[in-house]
Amino acid sequence: MAYSDKLVQHFENPKNVGTISTDPNDKEVGTGLVGAPACGDVMKLQLKITEEGIIEDAKFKTFGCGSAIASSSLVTEMVKGRSIEDAMSISNREIAKELELPPVKIHCSVLAEDAIKAAIKDFQQKNQAKDPS
């Protein structure tokens, strides 16, 4: 596949690979696990979020093609420092545009957008339970 330089960069030097917390009950971390092995695309995105709702750290692990890995790497860069609301508004189109994804790979950017939303949802669900007031 003839990919853009930016995409190749993200693939060869991915940003923020790894895990923030292995404790599923860690209330400071939201984990999004999207995709399916059968589809050839699985993304795990972890976001460390402050009490004020700012994403202070992000880490990812992805099983997928070059576009999938690059999309998730880019996402970790995009969300750092942003508020939850801001991050929720990130659209796959921004990701696809930045990486110049070929049409057949657009779905990788959609999955990356889904990963952000899933991680935030997980964080919010854990923290709803915490604070009844």
Binding site: M1, Y3, V8, F11, P14, V17, T19, L33, V34, G35, A36, P37, A38, C39, G40, D41, V42, M43, K44, K61, T62, F63, G64, C65, G66, S67, A68, I69, V104, H107, V110, L111, D114, A118
Partner: protein, 414 residues
């Protein structure tokens, strides 16, 4: 960029320099039309063509009169299947039946689909998890109106070799006992020069040959059409001049044919001298090396019944396209959906029953005449390094190592 290694010899092969040397004089010096009977230009061209016919015939234990030239194995496959079918229909005034495995090359599958649109019935033979057809299923499928049974000698993706001699014996016995005109066609493209192919011993009626899969040029191939009883009749797909005994019109591309002939001669040499065993040793060297360093590797298809130069292996939890990008100095290919324009994983791997997840992680290496031990050793280091890096990035590998059964997870598919 550092050195590029070519391990994709099932996809195509480089022209052997000796093939190129043989071809060049026929471009600007001996450029006559082989059909020109009245002058030396034509006679020289014709002699070269007939020499090639013999070289190809020798490779498969045939007679040179049984070799006709085509633009490649895709055309040969089309000609064999559609040519036989069309003659059958014209002669018997009805359509008939074809038998072929689901793992054939697209040139065979799509030719059969085209005939289906004309009303032909096709029995698609299954393969077991080794990639081999059931001889019982074949026997049961044979009917009095079966015009052709088409089974490839060796598969282009997984390198698995079918029991061709047994199949030939079954078709022959059926034909004789039932007095049908059932023919056995074999796409031998991937087998030539790698394993012995003997059309007599295997009782093959039609056989497809490709130049660019055996260090010859692209755009030239041949079809073996057995002579003798029962006589094989096929309708030409291309009309105009009646070349090649009326089976394939068109001025013969002498330089291409000379290349194909030389390639066939060299292929026979590889087998006779045992040079092919060096290629097997390279394949084995990589496989042994990989197993020492990495876990969760799975060979796709039968190891025992496989071409000596093929390694089709799934690196679990690492997706195929990412893998190929990571080892970009190595030319190879993958059965992953992400590498196909249709986003469908390899139909050959699916036919084996390979789990879809593993199909996405498969890589095909095809070693060849020009690969070396140093290349394999370099590749081994690179592959091991990159697989480890990609597994460090893989949420699936992480989950598996933590003891999670991936099949028990409810995935949120998009």
């Amino acid at each position: 960029m550092e050195k590029l290694l070519y391990f994709d010899n099932h996809s195509t092969t480089p022209c052997d320099p000796r093939v190129v040397d043989a071809m060049v004089p026929f471009l600007s010096e001996m450029y006559g039309n082989a059909a020109s009977r009245s002058h030396k230009f034509g006679w020289d061209a014709r002699a070269a063509v007939e020499n090639s016919r013999q070289q190809i015939a020798t490779l498969i234990n045939a007679n040179e009169k049984e070799i006709i030239f085509t633009s490649g194995a895709t055309e040969s496959n089309n000609l064999a299947i559609k040519g036989v079918a069309k003659y059958f229909s014209r002669n018997k005034g009805k359509v008939g039946h074809i038998i072929t495995p689901v793992t054939e090359h697209k040139a065979v599958l799509d030719s059969c689909h085209a005939l289906e649109r004309d009303g032909w019935e096709v029995t698609w033979l299954d393969v077991d998890k080794e990639g081999i057809i059931s001889l019982d299923q074949l026997k049961e499928a044979l009917r009095e109106d079966t015009a052709i049974v088409s089974v490839m000698f060796a598969n282009n993706e997984i390198g698995v070799v079918q029991p061709i001699a047994e199949i030939g014996a079954i078709v022959n016995a059926f034909r004789a006992a039932n007095k049908t005109s059932t023919l056995f066609h074999c796409d031998a493209v991937q087998a030539l020069g790698r394993v012995a192919v003997d059309v007599r011993a295997c009782k093959i009626d039609l056989l497809s040959i490709s130049g660019h899969k055996m260090y010859g040029p692209k755009g030239i191939g041949a079809l073996f059409v057995r002579r003798g009883r029962p006589r094989i009749r096929l309708e030409a797909l291309i009309d105009g001049g009646g070349h090649e005994r009326g089976m394939r019109s068109g001025t013969l591309p002498v330089h291409q044919i000379v290349g194909l002939g030389k390639a066939a001669e060299l292929a026979k040499e590889d087998l006779d001298t045992g040079a092919i065993e060096k290629v097997r040793a390279l394949r084995d060297r990589l496989w042994v090396g990989l197993q020492k360093e990495l876990d969760e590797l799975y060979i796709n298809g039968s190891w025992e019944h496989r071409l000596p130069n093929n390694l089709n292996v799934s690196f679990a939890y690492v997706e195929g396209e990412a893998m190929m990008m990571a080892i970009k100095q190595i030319a190879c290919s993958s059965g992953s959906a992400c590498t196909s324009a249709s986003l469908e994983p390899s139909y050959v791997l699916r036919a084996l029953g390979v789990d879809v997840e593993l199909a996405h992680t498969s890589i095909r290496f095809g070693f060849g005449r020009f690969n070396t031990e140093e290349e394999v050793d370099y590749a081994l280091k690179l592959i091991v390094k990159k697989v480890r890096q990609l597994r460090d990035m893989s949420p699936l590998y992480e989950m598996v190592k933590a003891g999670i059964d991936l099949k028990s997870v409810s995935w949120v598919e998009h």
